[in-house]
């Protein structure tokens, strides 16, 4: 052995491993870049004022997605309106009231199971239960009720995490001053946990915007715009296709790829904004955690 102790032995296996690791990481980033680039190049030309603010008209030969944008917005609003209190309430109960036992583990197991169920099953169940059994048919309401089940675990879990970051001294302080438990939760706990809860809500909105399989058999595919405000409220009980559903139908049933890529660009922009907002909020949350 003439090597010195400090000399590095060449290890071909190590070099190979490094190569594989860098290649895989590069692949993951390149994949995203190619995906975004391809969709933008194919779809950006389609986007104009008319595309975003009108409804497709066969008579005029124009294409527009305003109806689908509105449906997406309505479904997001309707779903979050019910799902947020439900998810936050569940988390508050689990974190603040419940004692470890059978009920808690049952709830946690149910939440876990719910988060593992694929969206197509939610869609199937939603169309059977809300659509047929409750007689809501293909409607935005059926779609929203279905999506509530889907985003519930996400909201519950994020709120639980947020509640865990609130120091116990806040709780004992408020209770020591004579506040009732619910009063303490309402005025001290929930305000301090707001950034975390909001992050969860925004992530849930992201999932709703991107969801398609659960909506195909529940919300349907109509794309007309309501003419009056009363009609807008009525719309909740009528069928309405979101952006994702319209993209799917344009690409498969209609073979209209130009429109499909246009919608894809709109969806990507939405998802990007939602993701960035969630990130901003989460980073706001972080420093308080370290304190």
């Amino acid at each position: 052995m003439n090597d010195s102790l400090t000399a590095k032995r060449a290890r071909p296996a190590d070099a190979l491993a490094y190569g594989a690791i860098y290649l895989c990481a590069f692949f993951s980033v390149a994949l995203l870049a190619v995906l975004l680039g391809y969709v933008l190049v194919r779809g950006i030309g389609v986007i104009n004022w008319q595309f975003l603010t009108t409804v497709t008209s066969v008579l005029k030969g124009t294409v527009g997605i305003a109806g689908n944008l509105l449906n997406t917005l309505l479904i997001v609003l309707l779903t979050m309106l019910i799902a947020t209190p439900l998810g936050v309430g569940a988390a508050v109960y689990l974190n603040e009231y419940a004692r470890p036992g059978k009920l808690v583990s049952a709830i946690e197991f149910a939440t876990e199971t719910l988060s593992g169920i694929p969206s197509i099953i939610f869609g199937l169940f939603g169309s059977m239960f809300f659509g047929e059994t409750l007689g809501l048919g293909y409607s935005l309401l059926t779609g929203s009720l279905t999506l509530i089940l889907m985003v519930l675990p996400l909201l519950t879990r994020n709120t639980q995490e947020a509640l865990k970051t609130v120091p116990d001294s806040y709780r004992t302080g408020a209770l020591g001053l004579g506040a009732g438990k619910w009063h303490m939760i309402r005025t001290v706990l929930l305000p301090s946990a707001t950034p975390g809860i909001l992050t969860g809500a925004i992530l849930a909105i992201g999932r709703i915007v991107g969801e398609s399989a659960a909506l195909l058999f529940t919300a349907g595919s109509a794309k007309a715009l309501p003419k009056t405000f009363a009609k807008l409220l009525e719309k909740i009980f009528h069928s309405g296709g979101t952006l994702t559903i319209q993209l799917y139908l344009s690409a498969t049933a209609d073979g209209d790829f130009t429109t499909a890529f246009g919608i894809a660009v709109v969806l990507l922009v939405l998802v990007l904004c939602i993701n960035l907002t969630a990130k901003k909020l989460a980073s706001k949350l972080d420093p308080t955690r370290r304190k």
Partner: protein, 308 residues
């Protein structure tokens, strides 16, 4: 009037407290109700067809002719396609995902990880219909070229235009990447630095440490990521419906196939009678697969918790 102290049953706030507690409990058990209702409906709607068509004929039959004069409802190839598609996408996606996770946690400089990490998060947020659309426009034509090359002159092969098992496997592998990466990365991060330091101090190289110490130590977490990936691949519907073609076939690489999920997506809207009931059975089979995956996850998590 005598003043009632707060917290005392006679106090006004006491009832508010009780109401709040009851309402919160209702919120909490909503998840249990949801899971029970879904399970009940999947079984109630999925079982009748088994009796009507016959268990063996339905589950092990290979001919799918739901609208023929003599309809046949064999879903064996559909089940097989889901299993094969999921298995190969996991085989393809997990190594890439694990290596990327190693890059994020063990190898890369902070500045590079700051690019890769958000990219992975964004990949997870992209709607599945967009994966399907790009797959249709990029992957399928490429597969068609390959198909024409391989099967040139073949008279038995049915050309699919590139909508085949391979396309679906690639799309699925890409779609499970973010799950595998983020779960593996967080379990690698949880490995104590003392273990790495000990291994390096004993003279092992960085890569030896990664592959013989860090990854084995994070094994149960990585396995959780793999199982989550299996669940995602089994349940994905829209994207692979757009790239995998539309006929029930044996899942050979260049055959167009139907998966459990895509069978539902494409036929649910017009199916009637027994056909519709059989589709519910397809849903039930998928649901049972997912429940099995969930049980494995639960076992893994328990094991992980015991270790800590």
């Amino acid at each position: 009037m005598k003043r009632v102290p707060e917290g005392h049953p006679g106090h006004k706030a006491f009832t508010a407290e009780a109401v709040a507690r009851a309402l919160l409990l209702i919120c909490a058990v909503a998840a249990i109700f949801a899971v029970c209702a879904i399970t009940f409906y999947m079984f109630a709607k999925g079982l009748p067809a088994l009796g009507k068509v016959g268990v063996t004929e339905l589950l092990f039959g290979t001919t799918w002719k739901p609208t023929a004069a003599e309809p046949q409802f064999g879903i064996a190839y559909i089940i097989l396609s889901s299993i094969v598609g999921t298995a190969f996408s996991v085989l393809l996606g997990v190594p890439v995902g694990l290596m990327t996770a190693v890059f994020l946690t063990e190898v890369s400089a902070k500045r590079m990880a700051a690019v890769v990490q958000p990219a992975v998060e964004l990949l997870a947020a992209i709607p599945s219909v967009i994966y399907g659309l790009v797959g249709m426009m990029v992957l399928n034509p490429a597969m068609y070229k390959l198909e024409k090359l391989i099967f040139a002159g073949s008279s038995t092969h049915q050309f699919t235009g590139g909508a085949n098992v391979l396309s679906a496997v690639i799309v699925l592998a890409i779609m499970i990447l973010p799950t595998v990466i983020s779960v593996s990365a967080s379990s690698l991060r949880a490995v104590p630095d003392a273990m790495r330091a000990a291994s390096l101090a004993l003279g092992a190289s960085k890569m030896q440490t990664v592959f013989r110490v860090t990854i084995p130590a994070a094994r149960s977490g990585i396995l959780t990521g793999v199982v989550l990936g299996i669940g995602r691949a089994l349940g994905e519907a829209m994207a692979i419906n757009m790239v995998a073609g539309g006929s029930v076939n044996l899942p050979l690489p260049f055959n167009s196939v139907r998966f459990l999920t895509t069978q539902l997506v494409s036929e649910m809207s017009y199916a009637e009678g027994t056909h519709r009931q059989v589709l519910f059975t397809v849903g039930l089979v998928l649901y049972l697969f997912i429940l099995a995956v969930n049980l494995v996850l639960l076992k893994l998590r328990k094991k992980g918790a015991e270790k800590e």
